[in-house]
């Protein structure tokens, strides 16, 4: 492992971690709305959330570019209020990863919220628990396994993000060059086969570890065991 290799792995973990943590509250809120809410346009929201799963990632990246460009609606706002831009920055890579991980996270969380027995929430209410206490003491702990499994799955997806990232924030070594992008760059370089092999191996290991953790959590939850 050379320092260069470590740098790439570290950047990938950083981008994936920040993406998933930032995505977590949004994903949970959306999952809650889709599981419990009854409102017009629910089907449309469901479709929009799932869009990154089916649209070509290049298109998602291009849409992000439009939105976050200095002249775009979000980019312009960031520029004028904070004087920052996420283009060609690792923060942009994290945004792309977050958008791509969102549907997977929402799906897992929504299923686990739907699986919570509403009758237990009713029992809590008759025992004097108001809405927030019912949520914090019954709904959230019972849906936690799905929330954690969804988060790990989202993290694995974020680690593998390629198309949207390279379209949105390009392939800048040390800034936006995560594992998949580094592999792509090495493939384009004559004599880069050795690097490709090592990067690909690391990538497989990381993804496998994340999937195993997600599966373990799901299994424990399936047996009615406590995750925490």
């Amino acid at each position: 492992m050379t320092p260069e290799l470590w740098g790439i792995v570290w950047l990938s973990l950083q981008v994936g971690g920040v993406a998933v943590l930032a995505c977590l509250p949004v994903a949970f809120g959306l999952a809650w709305l889709l599981a419990r809410g009854r409102f017009p346009g629910k089907l449309l929201l469901d479709g929009l959330v799932h869009l990154p799963l089916v649209v070509p990632p290049v298109v998602t990246g291009w849409l992000l570019l439009l939105a976050f460009a200095p002249t775009g609606p979000i980019g312009g706002w960031l520029e004028s209020w904070f004087g920052v831009s996420v283009l060609f920055r690792w923060t942009g890579a994290a945004i792309a990863s977050a958008v791509m991980a969102l549907p997977l996270m929402v799906r897992a969380m929504r299923l686990s919220i739907e699986a919570v027995d509403r009758r237990l929430e009713q029992a809590a209410a008759t025992l004097g628990a108001g809405r927030w206490r019912v949520f914090a003491s019954v709904t959230l702990p019972l849906s936690l396994p799905g929330v954690l499994a969804g988060t790990v799955l989202g993290f694995a997806r974020a680690l593998g993000e390629f198309g949207a990232t390279i379209t949105f924030v390009s392939n800048v070594p040390g800034e936006t060059q995560t594992l998949p992008l580094a592999i792509y760059a090495a493939l384009q370089t004559p004599g880069g086969e050795g690097l490709v092999l090592r990067l690909a191996g690391l990538s497989v290991l990381l993804s496998l570890a994340a999937l195993l953790v997600s599966e373990l959590i799901a299994r424990r939850a399936g047996r009615g065991l406590h995750v925490l």
């Binding site: 009713q122 209410a125 008759t126 025992l127 004097g128 702990p141 009615g224």
Partner: protein, 201 residues
Amino acid sequence: MSFDLDLTRRLGEAEIACRIDAGDGLTVLFGPSGAGKTSILNMVAGLVEPDAGHVRVGGETLFEAAAGIDVPASERRAGYVFQEPRLFPHLRVRANLLYGWREGALDVDETIVLLGIAHLLDRWPRTLSGGEARRVAIGRALLSNPRFLLLDEPLSSLDRARREEIMVLIERLRDTMKLPILMVTHDREEATRLGTRIVEI
């Protein structure tokens, strides 16, 4: 006067209508399965909203369609023992018992001894037998210091000895604590022994 109920609610094709003006003591709702007895308890507890009518318990109005009054379930202070135990699976028995604890409730240790669940306190609900879970559910409801009790078949799935103990407990709650009790059963013997009055549904 304890339970003063006048309820109607459409459930699909069927309509549940119920008018009860009961005095003190234990009122039994007696009738075959599917007659809507549990729905009536749910409406008194505030879990299901009636289409029309009113719910008054001990003189206090908990629901009145005409006046737009609908006290939330969490503020009705019902001690509701459901047909199935509904223990919180992620909490040990002790935490389940104390979930709704309120000042002024029966003494915790005394209740635990009375229900014979002292040896279960550190267990998870999924490891309990049906009868054990039922007793924990009764304890949980009592420790929330309820103003009235709703019992949905509280004696089913208990063995003979335990049934007798729980019946004695219910009699005690009825006679010494003067808690208004609304109880659902389809067992004639239970109904005649415990009921101050029996309402056939």
